[in-house]
Symmetry: C2
Subunit: 123 residues, 2 copies
């Protein structure tokens, strides 16, 4: 099981990749057979290739992320964060709560993102 | 599926029961066959009777709860909150992130609490 510190580091790496990386950089935070359900209730994306495709649409936007709060338990973390994208002067900001489970190497094996359209702020 | 408003109300009812109710009041927020994993990684408690027993130890303490942030998705919610207990002048405060899934009547069918001993503050 990864340590609490390793899990927190992995979450920070993920948020850094979401803010400034390519879709491949973000997907590299996930294990080969990971699943991603974003938002919770939607059909999960399965495998690193599908996860990379999921992130491609945001990579042409200017992005910012900020970790608000994180709680680690066992090999999982729940964390509240802010993600802001700006594209053609259109700002979209959401502050989801994500739950991730990690493998022993610190890669994400499952991600579930809790948010809904009501949480989207346009600027 | 319960509405986002019904889910938010159910979370507030739960936190109110944790702050001021009996163990039976808290257990009444859960469905008959609900599971409770607190913290995540520990053996889940199964069924309303076991859940009531789980909450009994806190009911002789003075308690306070506060909802910090909540995100609803589908029939689930993730929320960050503060719970403070005081017993014989010993204050214990934790700010977990919980994930709950609800049935169509707004009862909790699954609760998973993300926190660890490192998050406990003694006062």
């Amino acid at each position: 099981m990864p340590t609490a510190e390793a899990i927190t580091d992995a979450v920070r790496r993920y948020l850094k990749a979401v803010a400034g990386g390519t879709a491949a950089d973000i997907a590299a935070c996930f294990a080969e057979n990971a699943t991603l359900e974003d938002p919770v209730g939607s059909e999960p994306h399965r495998g690193r290739a599908a996860i990379q495709r999921f992130f491609e649409p945001i990579t042409d936007a200017r992005r910012e992320t900020e970790l608000i709060a994180i709680r680690v338990a066992s090999s999982s973390a729940a964390f509240h964060f802010r993600v802001r994208t700006e594209r053609d002067s259109q700002v979209v900001e959401v502050q989801p709560i994500d739950v991730m489970t990690f493998d022993e190497t610190g890669l994400i094996v499952e991600m579930r993102a809790f948010w809904s359209e009501a949480d989207i702020r346009l600027g």
